[in-house]
Symmetry: C2
Subunit: 204 residues, 2 copies
C-alpha cells in the first residue's frame, strides 16, 4: 500500500488514518457463511454492516428495559475488527475456541493500539463488552450476531451447516440465551431451526 507511512496534520490524525486504512483488511477476512445468493463466502466487514442493520430493524422486539440501540450498533461495528489478525473462529469450532481469547486479545492490542490511547481504550472496551455479554446492549448484539448466520444458512438450504456437519442441538445451544433477550426473536429462531430440520437443511 503506497503512502502507508505518510504523516498527516498531527500525530493523532496520522494514527487515525493509519488505523482506518488498516481496518480495510476486514473486507478480506472470510466467514463460513455464504451470501444468500450462494455466490461466495461472506466477509466480516459486510457482515458487520448487515448485523448493524438487523439490530436497527429488530430492536423493537427486545424485552424491557430496552438496550440502547446506538450503543448496540457500535458494539456490532467494532467487535469483529480483531479478526483481521485472529481470523474468524467458526461458531462450532471447539478447537479454535481454545485459544480464541488469547489471539483476539493480541489482535485488539495491536490494531486498536494504532490509535492514541484514549481512542484505543474506547474501542478495546467496546470489544470487551461484546465478548463479556454482561450488558443489555452486549446481549442484544450477541443475539443478532447469532441470528444472522442462521438466517443465511436457512436461506441457502443449510450451506455452511452441511459443509461443517452442524446439528440441530448444537445450533440450539448457541441461541439458548436469546430467550432472555427477546422471547419474540427466540421463538422465531427456534421455528427457523425446526423448519431447517424438516426441510433437510440441518441434521437433527
Amino acid at each position: 500500500m503506497e503512502g502507508k507511512d505518510d504523516v498527516w496534520g498531527t500525530p493523532r490524525l496520522t494514527r487515525q488514518i493509519a488505523f482506518l486504512m488498516e481496518i480495510d483488511r476486514l473486507k478480506t477476512v472470510l466467514r463460513r457463511t455464504v451470501l444468500t445468493d450462494g455466490s461466495r463466502r461472506e466477509n466480516t466487514a459486510e457482515h458487520s454492516w448487515h448485523i448493524a442493520m438487523m439490530a436497527m430493524t429488530l430492536h423493537e422486539y427486545v424485552a424491557e428495559p430496552k438496550p440502547d440501540l446506538s450503543h448496540t450498533i457500535k458494539l456490532l461495528l467494532v467487535h469483529d475488527i480483531v479478526e483481521i489478525d485472529a481470523g474468524d473462529t467458526f461458531a462450532y469450532d471447539t478447537q479454535g475456541y481454545s485459544d480464541k481469547e488469547e489471539r483476539e486479545q493480541a489482535a485488539a492490542s495491536r490494531i486498536f493500539g494504532l490509535l492514541e490511547e484514549d481512542q484505543a481504550a474506547e474501542y478495546r472496551k467496546l470489544w470487551r463488552e461484546f465478548e463479556e455479554m454482561d450488558t443489555r446492549e452486549a446481549l442484544f448484539a450477541a443475539a443478532i450476531d447469532r441470528l444472522q448466520p442462521m438466517l443465511h444458512n436457512y436461506y441457502t438450504e443449510g450451506y455452511s451447516w452441511k459443509e461443517n456437519g452442524v446439528r440441530h442441538a448444537q445450533a440450539l445451544r448457541r441461541i439458548g440465551f436469546i430467550d432472555g433477550v427477546s422471547p419474540v426473536l427466540a421463538s422465531f429462531i427456534q421455528e427457523l431451526l425446526q423448519r431447517a430440520v424438516d426441510r433437510g437443511f440441518l441434521e437433527s
Copy 2:
C-alpha cells in the same frame, strides 16, 4: 433463495425478515473503488461499514455544534441501500447523475417498502436526509462518504482516478463543502489531493 416466501410469527416480522434478506444483495453491488490491497473492487455493504467506522473515529474533528454521532451512523448505514436496484453512480459520472434521483426514488420505494409503513418511512427519511445534505448529521455523513474513496484512491496510487480519468479540479469540487463541516478534515483532504498530484496519482 430457498424459503424466500416463508411466513414467520407475524406479518410484520415476516416483512422484516424479507427486508433483511433482500438487503444482503448490497454485498454484490460493486463500486469503482478498489480495496487498499488492490485485490478487487469494493462492494457497497463493506463500504457502508467502513464509513461508519470513519465517522466514529473522526467525529472529534467536526466543528461545533457537533452532529449527533449515532444519527450520523444510521444515515451512513442506510443511505446506500437504494443501490441494490439503482446501482452505484460513480461520483464523476454526469450522465449517470441525470437520472440518479429518479432511479433511487424507485429503489427506495421498493426496498424500504418491503417493511411495514412506519419502518419504511423511517428508512426513507434517513435516505432523504442524507441526500438533501441539510442537517449537520447529513453534512458530516456526506463528508465522510467523500473522504473514504479518496483515501482508497491515494493508498492505491490513484487506481480509480486513473481508470476514470479524474482530475484534481474535479476532486476539489467534490469536497468544497467539507470546509464548513470540519476545517481539520478539509485541510487533510486538500493535502492528500495535493500529494496525489505530486506523486502522479491524480492528474492536475
